[in-house]
């Protein structure tokens, strides 16, 4: 049998996930068996970054790490990680103080991302644990996470995350999260969430829910047993896959692109011609820029695609955001995995300070302008749908009690919801170094400039073929 150790590992992970999901009657096996052929898992090296800014402690045991990237403190045990990014550059440090309700909890040791008995495919892990019960350990255990999912500040146990799903700032136990769902709800357990569910809840303050029409969402992403995820999102990234091969194949790559000294362009990003990178810009690994104009303080996170577009500055394009044929004013926020597609003859224009909520799809065949300071959610393909799925931010702020519009329902205080978003956007800009003035307000754009990358590889053949040897890397 080919690669028996990898097969044993996969079977063990599926069994552990199924045990956790038994109450929901969910069998992960038919969804993930064979989804990544084992021979793919020996083709790619894993790599880790070393910088003076991030505590160093990598521990990899009995795992396959094919094509995956690691930064910061992380431990991986009995797991399969395929082309995933484990980005620990926002983990808490010893001596930090975590504030939760009326508690001020000191951090007793550097936080660590701890992945165990899990199978992550093209998944991004970032941010830090927001669970006050486990502040030093950001755990991911007994989890299967599928293509382009984001596990963002969300300790997770016994879950399956569908393709293009995001769990954000949520502790999550024994849940099934459908494709393209976005969950930010504090803590959840034992729930099966349908594909295309956008749920943002802060108990006692606000609760936002939007559910995509299933048939229309299936054009963009569709996932069922027996085959990998399908749909326009997958086609879109597959069409650009080749461009990444060169940056991953070459060990020492010389950047031909000039970048201001305050900006950071990751050597594992793809930069196509006619791209402009302004001051304090952050371009993360696996970002794709083509004829993209990024003004001061803009960023492009992992798995972002910015094509034939102009971002005026201080724009946040969160993990997995895609912007095509569009013009964005200053401080426009584009949430996780959003897909914004204009056309050469009908561009998408988004006015300054607008918030495009996580997992929004704007896919137009006629020119469309979103006025400044608007909140946009859901599926928008024309002006009428924009009318249904958007509101001026100041009008949303005035919601008291409850409100519904189209397929969106909201309960709570609109002002709390809006300020939570605005504070977070500001925090992201700060963390990314968008406000760096030459001496103060350093962020990722400045700290991530000089990273050394080392590569590690699995056993090429034999009993342990496909497994990486135990590797412990410490200062």
């Amino acid at each position: 049998m080919m690669m028996p150790e990898l097969k044993k590992l996969l079977d063990r992970i599926i069994q552990r996930v199924n045990i956790n999901l038994r109450e929901l009657g969910y069998d992960a096996g038919p969804f993930v068996q064979g989804i990544i052929p084992f021979n793919q898992m020996v083709k790619f090296y894993a790599f880790y970054g070393i910088t003076p800014h991030h505590p160093l402690n990598f521990q990899f045991r009995h795992s396959n790490l094919s094509g995956s990237y690691f930064l910061g403190r992380c431990r991986v045990t009995n797991s399969l990680l395929y082309k995933s990014d484990i980005r620990g550059d926002e983990l808490k440090k010893k001596g930090d103080v975590f504030r939760f309700q009326n508690f001020e909890i000191p951090i007793s040791e550097d936080e660590q991302i701890d992945i165990e008995n899990s199978f992550l495919i093209k998944t991004l892990v970032h941010n830090y644990s927001h669970d006050p019960e486990t502040l030093e350990k950001f755990f991911i255990q007994d989890v299967i996470s599928l293509h382009y999912a984001n596990i963002h500040g969300s300790p997770s146990e016994g879950c399956i995350f569908g393709p293009f799903s995001t769990v954000d700032l949520t502790t999550i136990h024994d849940c099934v999260i459908g494709a393209f769902s976005y969950i930010q709800a504090g803590e959840i357990s034992h729930i099966n969430i349908d594909p295309g569910t956008i749920w943002i809840r802060n108990p006692g303050k606000f609760n936002f829910l939007y559910r995509y029409p299933k048939e229309r969402l299936a054009n963009y992403v569709y996932f069922n047993t027996g085959s990998p995820p399908q749909g326009l999102f997958i086609d879109f990234v597959e069409d650009r896959k080749e461009a990444f091969q060169r940056v991953f194949d070459v060990v020492n790559i010389e950047s031909t692109h000039s970048v201001p000294s305050s900006a950071s362009l990751d050597r594992y990003a793809v930069i196509k011609p006619h791209t402009h990178i302004g001051e304090n810009v952050l371009v993360a690994q696996r970002a794709y820029l083509q004829n993209a104009w990024l003004g001061k303080g803009a960023n492009a996170q992992e798995n972002c695609y910015i094509i034939n577009s102009r971002l005026e500055g201080f724009n946040v394009t969160a993990h997995g955001g895609k912007i095509i044929e569009a013009d964005l004013g200053q401080k426009v926020f584009v949430g996780f995995n959003s897909f914004l597609r204009g056309r050469p003859d009908c561009r998408l224009t988004i006015g300054k300070e607008s918030i495009i909520m996580p997992h929004t799809i704007i896919d137009i065949r006629e020119p469309l302008t979103i006025p400044p300071c608007h909140l946009v959610w859901g599926l928008v393909t024309n002006k009428q749908e924009l009318e249904t799925n958007s509101m001026p931010i100041n009008a949303f702020s005035k919601i008291e009690n409850r409100f519904s519009k189209g397929d969106m329902i909201f309960e709570g205080t609109g002002a709390d919801f809006v300020s939570a978003f605005q504070n977070r956007i500001n925090h992201i800009l700060e963390a990314n170094g968008a406000f760096f003035n030459g001496t103060e307000n350093r962020g990722h754009a400045q700290k991530n400039q000089n990273i050394s990358f080392n590569t590690i590889q699995p056993y090429p053949e034999g009993e342990l073929e496909g497994l990486y040897p135990t590797v412990i890397i410490q200062p």
């Binding site: 709800a185 729930i191 749920w199 609760n207 829910l209 409850r402 519904s404 329902i409 309960e411």
Partner: protein
Amino acid sequence: MKHFLVRDLMVPLSEYATVPKGSTLFEAVMALEKAQEEFDLEHTQYQHRAILILDSNQRVIGKLSQLGVLRALLPKNERIQQIEDIGRFGFSGQLINSLREKYRLEAGIMEEVYKKAARMKVEDYMQAPSEGEYVDESTPLDTAIHQLVLGTHLSLLVTREKEIIGILRMSDVFAAVFHAMKDSEIKG
């Protein structure tokens, strides 16, 4: 309380509302009305609240409650399922009610809904009796009370060997308990 047995308080099957399988909800409601009219209200102030469904051998195969009839009025489509599903996302009962109301206004006039419901078949809304809903006629009332309370049943089907001979209604049990309480308080 006097030592009642189940048979002392049950309503005989012949006095209860019954319809054959295949009847419409309208026919069931008419059977209920007829049974109410014929029922001896001199001995009890409580009316029947359910209709029993019989197969071709006159055996009870299900019970159609008032709740079951009302359930037939609820729309059944993806939209209403979505509204009912909202509860698990932590939204309040008021919000869910406001969405139901909004949906009802959009769905059209209630007369049409009643007409449609009246034509539906009883077997689609009846509940087949569960194991805990049967009680032998010679069971002491105390034991039957346990069965009603723990199973949260509104009535029990009374059996003699394998045959269903009547129905023990919670309202009659309650009346008996109430009178016993009253007697014991008066006697001090």
